[in-house]
Symmetry: C2
Subunit: 308 residues, 2 copies
């Protein structure tokens, strides 16, 4: 049986998982998302849902009950040391063929876990797990050029430099997590509770961050400006997000400013990063992350078929 | 009755308060600290301790029960909009005479609240409340020169530039709060749980931060380095603190690099900042914050006596 005839691809993260059934043409014909992230699955004990000793085996069975008894390609934190079986990182430069060669097989020929990618050299160290399928899938589907600079916003934003269609190097910026920490637990909590919009307050924050490198000082001023009547409390959330994303963009653009820039991921985040990049004088393209993920999964499955 | 003959000075913060009884020579002869910060006192309702409708009045009575029925000078968040009575900020440049002229009197002639200090100009906005007594007290006591650059670490680190013995300008950096957020709630929580020491890992973090302006990217690498075997988990806390404090020092030294630098506050924090400043090539002096606070309170009280 060829995998490419019909298979399931799942992006299995820390708190959520999303699974897709793809037909022989690579089209998604069924899908579901739920909150059974890896932390809700008991590895050798008792998950929230009582999966018991073989938590991941049963959690995988559940996916097949929903989408059919098909070959299953798993990506994301399910391959981490907190997941099902650890799939060691593939070092840069990494392409889809490298990922395929390093798949880990919990069920031989039937269920595979995609490894993450690492960057290791004397001065750098970084890891990704989950984004690699999207990044390389976007190239496989012709959505990005082989040497693009790709920005992938999320809890941990990734700036990835492709060279010849492989991930040559990348950098993680903790922007999303920092914003959530500040919103959830800091002295700025009240001020950051409103929805973020790519409005003039956001642009102000971006411009300020592009021109200054003192984020940790600028954060407190969000509160000071409101206390002193220099800014409206209603603008604080967009301004603060602009500061953080502007800092992120300033950092990321050091990866190279002469190539195509693509922002890929969930539209509610990519529109903010795309706006910040435009303020920085760039012309980014936005690519839907789900489409790229499906293209990457499909290409890996074709490579599995070629090798078997 | 002259205040300076005997009075109580209290540093009343958000979560704690510390009160001192000073004799006619300005020596502390009795003191106590407890967890009755302003958030535990019900302003117009019900504090944790059942102070009732006049929460702060009763909480102040408690101070006098402990230390005697003396005039009382209150500093810190007790004068904020979440405290007893709001004492409006005094704009820079601010000296002890300016603070004394702007005292707010909940009980005329008997209980005074010291205002905070604000920095307002078209490009800057910042506030402090509590640190001003220490900063100006250190000058009044001859502990710092009239034009010193003073670093005051805490949840919100302050870099204050004195000119002619007044606070000319200042900047708040959220270093302490950010470290606590990352330690308490982030993907780095486990790694940041060990005590921070000014060791080689700390110095490594400081040097890296002094040479690079990408803190939000470096934070994630704390985890990546450990995952990839480039760093020991045991060093992560000191290294991470070094990154944050090094970033803080890089930012603060822009306030001027040609003057005396003093680090003032709690010794467990001042020793870290002093070490980071030495790595940056400076020769900071450490000043005990409590001693400076008492000197500042004493000087304000002398000014009260002169005015009455």
């Amino acid at each position: 049986m060829r995998w490419a005839d019909a298979f399931i691809a799942a992006d299995w993260g820390t708190t959520n998982r999303r699974a897709y059934l793809l037909d022989g043409d690579g089209n998604c014909v069924d899908e579901f998302e739920d909150d059974k992230g890896i932390l809700s699955v008991g590895k050798d004990g008792f998950g929230k849902d009582g999966f018991g000793k073989d938590g991941f085996g049963k959690a995988v069975g559940q996916i097949r009950e929903r989408l059919g008894d098909k070959p299953l390609l798993l990506a994301g934190m399910v391959g981490s040391n907190r997941g099902w079986i650890e799939a060691p990182y593939v070092p840069c430069p990494a392409g889809l063929d490298d990922l395929t060669a390093a798949l880990v097989w919990p069920e031989e020929g039937r269920t595979a876990i995609v490894p993450g990618v690492s960057l290791v050299d004397p001065d750098e160290a970084d890891v990704m797990r989950g984004e690699e399928v999207q990044l390389l899938g976007a190239f496989a589907a012709g959505l990005v050029s082989p040497d693009a600079l790709v920005c992938h916003p999320g809890t941990h934003n990734k700036w990835a430099r492709l060279l010849g269609g492989k991930i040559a190097r990348f950098m993680t910026v903790m922007t999303g997590e920092l914003f959530n920490l500040l919103k959830g637990h800091s002295i700025l909590s009240d001020l950051l509770s409103r929805p973020v919009e790519p409005d003039e307050a956001f642009a102000h924050g971006v411009r300020h961050a592009l021109a200054n490198d003192c984020l940790t000082a600028e954060l407190f001023k969000i509160r000071a400006r409101v206390l002193l009547g220099q800014a409206n409390a209603e603008d604080a959330s967009s301004y603060g997000s602009g500061l953080l994303i502007g800092t992120d963009v300033r950092t990321g653009l050091r990866e190279g400013s002469d190539s195509e820039i693509v922002v890929m991921g969930r539209p509610e985040l990519t529109r903010l990063y795309a706006e910040a990049l435009r303020i920085a004088g760039r012309q980014p393209r936005e690519v839907d992350g789900e489409r790229a993920f499906l293209a990457g999964a499909r290409k890996i499955v074709e490579l599995i078929d070629e090798r078997s």
